[in-house]
């Protein structure tokens, strides 16, 4: 887990400019900021890996692959190719 403190340097329609202590400049969507945050506010960001969602998504993706294979990847009896 990583936790870090950032200053909101600027607040725009949809993007905020955040500054780290060591002068990193980060563009950050305002939608991800808590309510009440203003230019000049300081925020804490915690960042964690989300293994659960990873697994879920993987499963869903596998289902899509299976569906594609079963729909288009099997030798169906071909409809007769009419020649006119």
């Amino acid at each position: 887990m990583v936790e870090v403190s950032l200053t909101v340097g600027k607040l725009d329609a949809s993007l905020a400019l955040l500054l780290t202590k060591d002068h990193h400049l980060i563009e950050f969507p305002t939608i991800l900021l808590p309510n009440g945050v203003k230019a000049g506010s300081i925020i804490k960001i915690k960042c964690d890996q989300d293994f659960e969602t990873e697994k879920e998504e993987q499963k869903k993706f596998q289902e899509i692959q299976d569906e594609i294979l079963s729909t288009f990847g099997k030798n169906l009896p071909k409809s007769p190719n009419l020649k006119i």
Binding site: K10, L11, D12, A13, S14, L15, L17, L25, E27, P29, T30, I31, N35, G36, K38, A39, Q58, K60, F61, I64, Q65, E67, I68, L69, T71, F72, G73, K74, N75, S79, L82, I84
Partner: protein
């Protein structure tokens, strides 16, 4: 076979003897990616004039066999013979030339050297290798290295002649015309050897493919996406040599798993759909973040109309390669097909733009000091079709001068690179939503850039500055107050709600930021900033729609008044292009047909050809549905009759369009048009060669209607060349 004539060789005069070579040498260091077309320098002596003065000319070539110095020497020799064989009109004077010396330069894009062959007549030929600095490095090269350089050169040449787009007008204003393009694979048995040699070269230099550059849809060439691979696939499709390709690719796949995407692509070209699907599935199992493969799979699902599946794949592709335009583009398409327009707009807004790249096209290496005065552009007389070959340029320039000002320079027509592609995505959306709804969707998801124009943020720190090279119209307008106000009055419908804050308080930084702080929590926070380039595309879309709407309204009005709606060919063509940009294909095709009823126009012909092909495939796919569901239906036979009639009609139109374009290209020394060959090959596969042959014979036997501008000559000979090509490569349908 159609023999080249001296009238098929365009030439440009050099400033002084050999200056074109000097110029090329001085520019070698600036050649990027594939490099330019081959250059041929010709020394000419007049046999008629007394003084033994030599002049120098040059022209460019693509498609010449550059696999070794001897084959280039042979090409030069035959060129010299051709020029010396007959007298010709040379800038208004009848001249008989002797050619004592020729030099051919062809660029090796892998090793970044220029390979050169000089032939002395009579005498021997010699070859040189020139590096980026213009220095001869031939001496330092071993025989083995030299063989390798020639193979690289050959592969470079073939890729160049395949990638060079034949979509563009061969004779566009200011473009390169002193170029002759030859089909490298239409040389009987010998071309089979060349094909094998090319595939061998492809396999060998596959790992250096990124050196050749790539198209505009990706920011950087990768092993799987680059011009070498593009060229290879085009050769395979042209010659239908799928099995040769698969062998080579399977060997490569053992070393590089991502080659699986290319194998699947060739299988799809070969119509082995099930195999391809299985292979793609296997590939994804191995690497579910292979963006190229995900893209191919997504495209396949789109083609099968399973947009739900395509959506999932496109999302995964974006996650796997978020800096590529093409992954985002297919996501936009999937959302659009699924009528999820809000997400379509949001993803469109996230597409990474690529403003620095241009489509590959052949360019002048040697500038024409005297402009067009330096050009010798003879008219080939071996293949002609009056309406095409006799097209007068003064007629076109008359139309240009008298062009309806409303139709001049519609900025959407000049979009480049990813901006053009993004516009295409946007028109697909508006096609389904209509303009008014589109504006509502836009207002729902975006805060408009102009509400934040004063915003300092817009400068150094955002992606927005990638858009500065968008069509100038919009940019200029926003730069000075008055102009943009004038603009506002004409595009009032497109403007988002006027700013409420005004003047004073708006420009005060402390003030503005307080205002923003207060309000951002509600509306703005949920919306996203619309990228400036997308904002600009909305503007261009409005202008296209306005022009289109005016045209349609006028047309109805004229019809009601029973008056003729008169436009020049150029105007119809522009209207057709607007309609096609807006996906109103039916209306566009009418405009192009009107354009072509006035005079021949290569652009209109090419566009209407696309329409015919689109229509045919629509009918064919409808029929395959019908034939399964309605096979027991009573109307079956009437249906079949109508269907056959329509398809036959379309096929005839396609054939006619191809032939006219082939004649046009031939007039401009272009005897290799991959797209047209593929279209005709497709026709042959559907109808059989015999039927096509007899159709051509019936309509284009020499000199049928010399009176009504349909007189023609040599067309059957020209087509014979293509039949030979189809037979040589055993194209589908060549044998019935």
């Amino acid at each position: 076979m159609l023999q080249a004539t001296v009238a098929s060789i365009p030439e440009a005069k050099e400033e002084y003897l050999g200056s074109s070579i000097v110029e090329r040498t001085s520019r070698l260091h600036s050649f990027a990616d594939l490099g330019p077309a081959d250059l041929c320098n010709i020394h000419k002596q007049s046999t008629t004039s007394k003084k033994n003065t030599e002049i120098g000319t040059f022209l460019y070539f693509t498609g010449v066999d550059t696999s070794n110095s001897a084959s280039i020497a042979a090409h030069l020799q035959s060129l010299a013979t051709l020029i010396g064989s007959k007298s010709q009109y040379w800038f208004g004077e009848k001249k008989h030339w002797k050619v004592p010396e020729l030099t051919y330069c062809t660029y090796n894009a892998f090793s970044k050297v220029d390979m050169r062959v000089t032939v002395h007549i009579p005498g021997k030929f010699e070859s040189h290798v020139v590096n980026n600095d213009g220095k001869f490095v031939h001496d330092k090269i071993s025989d083995e290295e030299l063989d390798n350089l020639w193979l690289e050169t050959f592969v470079s040449s073939i890729v160049r002649c395949m990638i060079d787009s034949d979509d563009d007008d061969a004779n566009k204003v200011g473009g390169l015309v002193e170029v002759r393009k030859i089909n490298p694979f239409n040389n009987g048995k010998a071309s089979h050897k060349l094909l094998k040699y090319f595939i061998e070269g492809f396999e060998k230099f596959f790992w250096d493919g990124p050196k050749l550059g790539c198209g505009v849809e990706i920011p950087q060439p990768s092993l799987i996406s680059n011009y070498l691979v593009d060229g290879f696939l085009k050769v395979i499709q042209l010659t239908q040599s799928y099995d040769l390709a698969l062998e080579a690719l399977q060997r490569l796949e053992e070393r590089e798993p991502s080659v699986i995407t290319l194998i699947a692509q060739v299988l799809l070209l070969k119509d082995e759909e099930i195999k391809a699907v299985q292979l793609m599935n296997e590939g994804i199992e191995k690497n579910k973040r292979d963006a190229d493969l995900l893209l191919l799979q997504a495209q396949f699902c789109m083609d099968k109309k399973r947009y739900d599946l395509a959506l999932h794949l496109a999302k995964q592709a974006v996650k796997s390669s978020p800096s590529d335009f093409k992954t985002w583009a297919i996501l936009v398409k999937a959302y659009t097909k699924l009528n999820d327009f809000e997400n379509a707009l949001l993803t469109l807004n996230s597409c990474p733009m690529n403003s620095h790249k241009e489509k590959y096209s052949l360019k002048r290496v040697v500038p024409l000091r005297g402009g067009n005065e330096d050009l010798h552009l003879p008219s080939p007389v071996d293949v002609t079709l009056d309406e095409v070959s006799n097209l007068q340029s003064n007629e076109i320039s008359y139309e240009q001068r008298n062009l309806d000002p409303q139709l001049v320079n519609l900025p959407a027509a000049n979009l480049k690179s990813t901006f053009a592609k993004a516009y295409d995505l946007l028109t697909e959306i508006v096609m389904k939503t209509g303009w008014e709804s589109l504006l509502k969707y836009r207002a729902k998801v975006f805060v408009m850039e102009e509400e934040y124009r004063k915003d300092k943020h817009a400068n150094g720190h955002t992606r927005k500055n990638s858009t500065n090279s968008v069509a100038n119209g919009g940019e200029n307008a926003s730069e000075n107050g008055n102009a943009s106000e004038n603009d506002a009055s004409s595009t009032v419908a497109i403007k988002s709600p006027k700013k409420e804050i005004n003047g004073t308080s708006e420009t005060s930084p402390s003030d503005a930021s307080t205002k923003l702080d207060e309000s951002y929590e509600n509306e703005f926070k949920k919306k996203r900033l619309c990228e400036r380039w997308l904002d600009n595309l909305f503007m261009l879309l409005y202008e296209d729609l306005r022009a289109y709407t005016i045209w349609q309204a006028e047309y109805v009005h004229f019809q009601a008044q029973q008056m003729e709606y008169k436009k020049t060919t150029l105007e119809w063509e522009i209207l057709g292009l607007i309609a096609f940009r807006l996906k109103h294909f039916k209306e566009g095709s009418i405009a192009f047909a009107n354009a072509l009823s006035g005079r021949f126009s290569a652009k209109s012909q090419r566009e209407i050809l696309k329409y015919y092909i689109m229509e045919r495939s629509k009918i064919l796919s409808k029929n395959s549905n019908n034939s399964s569901s309605q096979s027991s239906n009573d109307n079956s036979s009437t249906y079949t009759h109508n269907y056959t009639k329509i398809v036959n009609q379309l096929n005839e139109r396609i054939l006619e369009s191809c032939i006219k374009l082939l004649v046009w290209n031939h007039r401009w020394y272009v005897d290799f048009s991959p797209t047209l060959i593929n279209t005709l090959a497709d026709l042959v596969s559907k109808e059989g060669l015999i039927k096509i042959q007899s159709l051509v014979q019936a309509v284009y036997s020499n000199n049928i209607n010399p009176s009504d501008n349909t007189g023609n000559h040599g067309i059957t000979d020209m087509m014979d060349d293509l039949y030979t090509f189809f037979k040589e490569y055993e194209s589908l349908g060549f044998d019935n």
